[in-house]
């Protein structure tokens, strides 16, 4: 194939997924822009935002990839049942997601403190990261399992579904639950 053919082929293959994730990204941008008040109330939260969003993609994207591999290998059956492997994969994703969220909050706090920049209390940042991580973890685990299973049963390649799904749902819900977490934590305090 010539350079032009390769490029045209790659363009056609990638454009639909890119446009879909662009629409999802604009939604998350609107949510992010709408939470300016919360971002101002918790100084340092904006420093955690990229890490918290990327954690959703990294953790639940790899959960989706693992489930897809398990289905292809016949290790997991595409049924919603209390299967040991399915429970272990889900629990590991939740645990890793929460650990990474707390790690992000602690690291952001330490770095901002060391740089002498304004930062909220460590407890507030960690509580916000934990609550947001827990809520988005529950939604994403459910969404990933449902989409991979239903997609597999209908004959789609689950690997192609997981990436765009996790980035879009992860960003929108990740930010929306961040707003919920900030309001909850400031309310309780």
């Amino acid at each position: 194939m010539s350079i032009r053919d390769v490029a045209a082929d790659a363009y056609r293959e990638a454009a639909p997924a890119l446009v879909a994730s662009m629409i999802g990204g604009l939604f998350s941008g609107v949510v992010l822009s709408g939470m300016r008040a919360e971002l101002r109330l918790v100084p340092g939260l904006i420093v955690c935002v990229p890490a918290l969003l990327a954690t959703r993609g990294n953790v639940y994207g790899s959960l989706g990839a693992r489930l897809a591999t398990g289905l292809h290998q016949g290790l997991v059956r595409p049924h919603f049942e209390a299967d040991d492997r399915l429970l272990a994969a889900g629990a590991a994703a939740m645990a890793n997601g929460l650990l990474a969220s707390v790690f992000a909050a602690v690291l952001a706090f330490c770095v901002l403190l060391a740089l002498g920049r304004e930062v909220a209390g460590l407890g507030v940042l960690v509580a916000v990261a934990l609550i947001a991580g827990l809520l988005s973890g529950l939604v994403l685990t459910g969404a990933v399992v449902a989409v991979v299973f239903v997609g597999f049963r209908r004959g789609y390649n689950p690997d192609a579904l997981v990436g765009p799904l996790v980035t879009t749902i992860g960003d929108v819900f990740g930010l929306a639950f961040l707003v919920v977490a900030v309001r909850l934590v400031l309310e309780v305090r």
């Binding site: 010539s2 990204g25 941008g29 990229p50 990327a54 953790v59 590991a92 890793n96 650990l99 980035t167």
Partner: protein
């Protein structure tokens, strides 16, 4: 991919990389924090943040998965004149040039629709988005080709290593490039 499907085996396999990537993302957060006041003043730029870094990461991961497939098939060679390499790089840049103006217009429109006052002209937001997208596409090509080449030389499977590395690096570059473009065109 762990052989065992237990919480501890999965955690051992994924947590170290996950924490490393999280630390990289905090770097991107620090850059974001350093121009937060500009972002709060111009809500349409804040709308651009997730979509810019997301699209940059996607461009990188699409290129990475195509290069990785070509590598597995044995049709790829790391030569700038290689058809697969040059064609995929060209597609990445073309995709960016066609998507990012729409992203900018979309961010401006979304700000107006959600009741934000149009703080910047639509042309400024489109210019910020297009300039960031063009720079990011070139950086995504460089980073992805370098990461795929490194995985190939180190005999690692590019599917396991390159996509997470490229996605997270493009996140950081997305914020850095947006910051630089905003300094030049807006601030």
């Amino acid at each position: 991919m762990p052989e065992e499907w237990t919480v501890s085996a999965i955690t051992r396999a994924t947590l170290p990389v996950l924490l490393g990537l999280t630390a990289v993302e905090i770097g991107s957060g620090l850059v974001l924090g350093s121009f937060e006041n500009t972002l709060y003043r111009h809500p349409s730029l804040l709308v651009l943040v997730p979509v810019t870094i997301g699209t940059a990461g996607n461009l990188g991961s699409i290129l990475a998965s195509r290069l990785s497939t070509a590598l597995h098939l044995g049709t790829l060679s790391f030569d700038p004149r290689d058809d697969d390499l040059a064609g995929n790089a060209l597609a990445t840049v073309t995709l960016a040039l066609s998507v990012f103006p729409v992203v900018g217009a979309g961010a401006w429109g979304a700000t107006v629709l959600t009741g934000g006052h149009p703080d910047l002209s639509v042309l400024t937001v489109v210019a910020v988005s297009l300039a960031s997208g063009a720079a990011l596409a070139l950086l995504a090509v460089v980073v992805t080709v370098a990461a795929t080449y490194a995985a190939y030389r180190l005999r690692l499977d590019p599917d396991d290593v390159v996509i997470p590395v490229v996605t997270n690096l493009c996140d950081v570059l997305g914020v850095v490039v947006l910051f630089a473009v905003v300094q030049v065109l807006v601030a």
